[in-house]
């Protein structure tokens, strides 16, 4: 068992080393399944992503890439290891606490956007701002942010009236609207053509630098790695820096 003594520095985050403000994973392991059949989805994973850094994780299907993001964002609890986001422990047992930490510090971008069908683009961005208590409802201006991702003229459209690339832009804007410390992105270009894929990853790289967000992007698409600061490879739950 690794110690969970790690950062209690949340009160004065500015005093910490820069990586403390991003994502830090140490010796993280995760098993899926039951006693009869278990899968080692994450095997002793170490990963540090600093604010403003865009890190890519590539690897075959089933390697554990989505599991890595789930653990980083507090959706799943690892069996071993420590995970901190902006100095906050994302492995606490309380689901409620992890949900709150996620709301405050983590943004998720999903495959094909995963937008809510009933909401317009602008409302997709307003939604995350309304999930917390009234006192915590600060963030970026939804319409400004939509303009930043090139969607100003489509703010009133619902997902079914948007193209795949447009949906993904809205998905990225939705993840950024709460000004998270860490952005976790799962195969954002899986449903996009080449040109659109490049646009989306360029947008991610731009936003990461502009807003000092630590971004982890899982991808199949080796084509877009040129925009990333660091590239990791994942095989059978093990993470290694790419050669």
């Amino acid at each position: 068992m690794s110690s969970r003594s790690a950062p209690t520095a949340s009160t004065t985050p500015t005093d910490d080393a820069p990586e403390q403000l991003g994502l830090v994973m140490r010796a993280v392991s995760l098993r899926h399944g039951n006693a009869a059949e278990t899968v080692q989805a994450l095997d002793n994973v170490d990963l540090t992503v600093r604010p403003g850094e865009l890190a890519a994780v590539v690897g075959p299907s089933g390697a554990g890439k989505s599991s890595l993001l789930a653990v980083a964002g507090g959706l799943a609890r690892p069996g071993h290891g420590t995970v901190t986001v902006a100095g906050q422990d994302m492995t606490v047992p309380s689901r409620r606490t992890r949900t709150e930490l996620r709301r405050q510090h983590v943004g998720f971008v999903f495959q094909s956007g995963n937008l809510l069908p009933a909401l317009t683009a602008a409302d997709q961005l307003r939604l995350p701002l309304r999930l917390g208590p009234r006192s915590q409802r600060s963030g970026r201006d939804p319409l400004e942010l939509l303009a930043d991702v090139g969607m100003a003229d489509k703010a009133d459209r619902r997902p079914h009236q948007l193209s795949g690339g447009e949906r993904q832009r809205v998905g990225i804007a939705r993840a950024l609207v709460t000004e998270p410390s860490v952005l976790l992105v799962d195969e954002p270009t899986a449903a996009l053509d080449r040109a659109r894929s490049h646009e989306i990853v360029r947008l991610l790289a731009h936003e990461a630098r502009q807003r000092s967000v630590a971004v982890v992007m899982v991808t199949h698409d080796h084509d877009v790695l040129q925009y990333c600061d660091t590239v990791y490879e994942m095989v059978d739950g093990k993470l290694a820096a790419s050669s």
């Binding site: 989505s66 959706l75 996620r102 998720f108 999903f110 995963n114 809510l116 409302d123 619902r158």
Partner: protein, 376 residues
Amino acid sequence: MFLAIRELNFARLRFALMGAVIALIAVLMVMLSGLSVGLVRDGVSGLQNLPVTSFAFTHDVQRDSAFSRSVVDLSAVDEWASQPGVADAAPFGNTLVNTRTDRGTEIDLALFGVQSDSFLSPAVSQGERLGTADGIVVSPTALDAGLQLGDTVTIDRLGTRLRVVGVTEQQDTFGHVDVAYVPLAAWQAIKSGTAPGAALPQRAATEITAVAVRAAGGKSVDLAAGDTAAGTESLTLKEAYGASPGYTAETTTLQLIQGFLYAISALVAGAFFAVWAIQRKPEVAVLRALGASTGWVLRDALTQALVLLAAAVAIGVGVGLALGALITGSGIPFALSMPSISAAGVGLVVLGLVGAGAAVIRITSVDPATALGGNR
């Protein structure tokens, strides 16, 4: 609320269909309520309008037919009048008769035999109060049936002739038959089958159906003690409704139907929201991944159900009231009572919410990790 309202608007056709079903149930509910209240009024308004708190019937009387079977001795009246807390006690006689007017109109009457100077003697809206030996005071609904003030009616077979001298202030019916108040002596003659002009048998002069008792204002009467002293069996006024002909059967049937409607409302809402909750699972996973608590998701879903149910029930009740207004006064026993309809409306919403709640609770088990592009 944020998401709930937008979803209602986005999937309005689907929600409208569901709402229409609930609205139809609400329409039925209003109709049933109108019928219930109408039937109750038709069945027991004659009793409801009596200034009575309880009736003392024969000991061991069969409760669902007490008015037709009970025979009590007149002496019980004095015994009851002397009980603590009793303001008034008076003899009460009841019989159903078939009569016809001199014009040939046939009309059934529920005779209420009372002493003309007792507290049971009704106020009148037309004509005069009870007093003359053969004068009767009838319910205004008997006028609708063809009777007129001043008419003389003849009781079938017996030949006794009674004159309509007055009309009560409001609908007085008993077992769907119009009430006619008749002086106690005349009632005793009719009840015992004594022909006009013949002498009343000794025994008949001391027999009544029940002792009508009125408790003093704010006092309660110990019915058991009174029954022991007088050798009677008391029913409160409400309990006595059940002794009116057909009342229990009618009201239990309607209550059964209403109960089923409540259950159907809960099941329909439950089934709809169960399907809806299953369809929304991927969305709920996304919401949870974005940082929504299970409480937030549940509140949103229940708000949605509440808005839908309340709107549907309101529309249904509105339509029901409009239909009911058409039916009222058409001869069908039907009466719209706002307290009863409001209670039914609230009941529909609450039970619909229970059904919806049981269905949407399952979204709390959604694993937010499924929002990620997984292998499942």
